[in-house]
């Protein structure tokens, strides 16, 4: 399988704190890979490093065959590496529609942007209803939908979702995962960061468990679901 993303021996330091200590992972073309782990395990740091928001101390990141270690975030977006950040980070004082337009900032073809915004509205009709409302007036689940919709307007080839289910009711989580499934079915590769291992492993094809900045388990989603260590730590009895 060809990789869209290959992370090798990644080390990231925050001052004297080692957030990542030689983490390696891959995402294959069309794959949905889940990254599981507790708070502070280094999940968000991993995606932040991939999207160029934090500096990598050592190790390499290769995307679509190109070395993108410490590349500029806007160059990565242009390559189709799109990161939906933890906590959604939608623009609360821009309208829903403007948020989606901002998602297409790096896209130069404005008819492509409009086409994709239309697609987002048909996939997520709630957003269409609220297109003129300010982002900050949406509910948590709608804001997450908006954050994902905004990423879709960028035309992702690799979509990285950081804890999309955080703080949402179970029904909303299921809806978000449906959307992730839709995105995957369009051929987009997905890196899904989750604490909610149960729903993540339902969508993912493969997964990694990380702890203290390194990968501790790598297996198919099916194997992870039955791995006693995963069951005990992340799925509950």
């Amino acid at each position: 399988m060809s990789f869209v993303l290959e992370v090798r021996d990644l080390v990231v330091n925050y001052g004297k704190v080692e957030a990542l200590r030689g983490l390696s992972l891959t995402v294959g073309d069309g794959e949905t890979v889940s990254l599981l782990g507790n708070n502070g395990a280094g999940k968000s740091t991993t995606v932040d490093a991939i999207s160029g928001v934090v500096r990598v101390t050592s190790g390499t990141i290769t995307a679509f065959g190109k070395d993108v270690t410490n590349a500029k975030p806007w160059d990565l977006v242009e390559m189709g590496i799109i990161h939906v950040p933890e906590g959604r980070r939608i623009f609360s004082r821009l309208t829903v529609h403007e948020n989606l337009q901002i998602g297409g900032y790096a896209v130069t073809d404005s008819s492509a942007i409009n086409q994709r915004i239309k697609q987002v509205y048909s996939l997520l009709p709630r957003l269409a209803e609220r297109r003129a409302q300010q982002g900050g007036t949406l509910s948590g689940g709608e804001q997450q939908m908006l954050a994902i919709g905004r990423a879709m307007v960028a035309g992702p080839k690799l979509l990285m979702l950081d804890e999309p289910s955080m703080g949402l009711a179970p029904l909303m989580v299921a809806q978000i995962m449906d959307v992730v499934r839709d995105i995957r079915e369009q051929g987009t590769s997905v890196l899904l960061i989750e604490q909610n291992a149960r729903s993540a492993l339902r969508v993912a094809t493969r997964g990694y468990v990380i702890d203290s900045g390194v990968v501790t388990i790598e297996a198919s989603a099916e194997q992870l679901r039955s791995d006693p260590r995963v069951v005990e730590a992340y799925l509950g009895k």
């Binding site: 975030p73 806007w74 990565l76 950040p85 623009f91 004082r93 821009l94 403007e98 900032y105 790096a106």
Partner: protein, 303 residues
């Protein structure tokens, strides 16, 4: 007080307010996008006046002593490009290296930049006031008994055109959307593929260009310029931005009009020597009573 006098005071206030507005916009834009009070902004206005002076001196042989409004507009546009570029360089050299420094450090740098620009001009042009090589005509007309010169009317129209143009850019264009997005969450903007540094540069360019336009108009209207002329108007623009709600562009214009009117009426009642006392008294009043200004956002952010 008779109605004509009242109208005259309102017109005077609007005229002064339109100057303040052009400068206040740059103040507010920069504050909105990087939360910096750019105390060198008034000096960009001064540089605009000096750019216009230099251009007019060079061109005086060609155009003669009485400049038409068209010539002045062309000079103003060139001066806008110059001051815009200076503002952009200022951000690159003085503010960008301090992007992640504490805000107080950047503020002190801004004060330093202000002095550097002022005394740089004092050295190159001399400390004495310079007289603008062209004057504007004094022909005036009356509306309902109040007097307004054609030059004043033209300058107000130019100011309004620039303000409306900026408003449209910020509200409707891709760059404007990016500016508004950065003012809310610069880190998320990186993830949208926005080159945040280049949008900040553009913001400085536009804000400085507007201040430069005001500088040229002020030189042509009042006839005299000096290296400290930006100091007071910088503080007035800051006051206007605070009154309107700093970071809010329509607020900056509203604040400028309010301040212009307050000054106009205040000086009519108290005498013109009280003008600045009156204006800065209002700054203090607003900062204590309503620090978010007339149109400012409430600072409750959802976490």
């Amino acid at each position: 007080m008779d109605l004509e006098y009242l109208l005259q005071l309102i017109l005077n206030g609007l005229f002064v307010g339109s100057f303040y507005g052009l400068v206040a916009l740059g103040y507010s834009m920069v504050y909105g996008i990087i939360k910096l009070l750019n105390f060198a902004h008034g000096d960009i206005y001064m540089l605009g006046a000096f750019s216009g002076y230099t251009l007019l001196t060079i061109g005086a042989g060609v155009i003669g002593g009485q400049a038409s409004i068209i010539v002045l507009v062309v000079i103003m546009l060139i001066a806008m490009v110059l001051t815009g570029t200076i503002g952009l360089i200022l951000e690159r050299v003085a503010y960008r290296p301090l992007r992640s420094a504490p805000r107080l450090s950047v503020l002190i740098t801004a004060v330093g930049a202000s002095f550097a620009l002022e005394y740089g001009i004092a050295v190159s042009f001399g400390p004495n006031p310079r007289v603008y090589p062209v004057g504007l005509g004094n022909e005036s007309f009356t509306i309902f008994g109040a007097r307004l010169t054609y030059a004043q009317l033209a300058m107000m129209l130019i100011a309004v055109a620039l303000m409306v143009g900026l408003d449209q850019i910020v509200r409707r264009t891709r760059s404007g959307r990016a500016m508004r997005a950065i003012s809310q969450d610069p880190k998320a903007c990186l993830l949208m593929g926005i080159n945040v540094d280049s949008v900040i540069s553009r913001t400085f360019f536009v804000g400085s260009a507007l201040a430069g336009a005001a500088g040229v108009m002020s030189g042509a209207y009042y006839g005299k310029i000096d290296f400290l002329m930006g100091f007071i108007i910088g503080l007035k623009a800051f006051t206007a931005a605070v009154i309107g709600g700093i970071g809010n562009l329509r607020g900056a214009v509203l604040g400028a009009i309010v301040l212009g009117l307050l000054e106009s009426f205040g000086t009519a009642w108290l005498g013109s020597e009280w003008r600045d006392v009156f204006a800065f008294g209002f700054l203090i009043l607003f900062l204590t009573v309503r620090p978010t200004g007339l149109l400012g956002e409430r600072v409750t952010e959802r976490v």
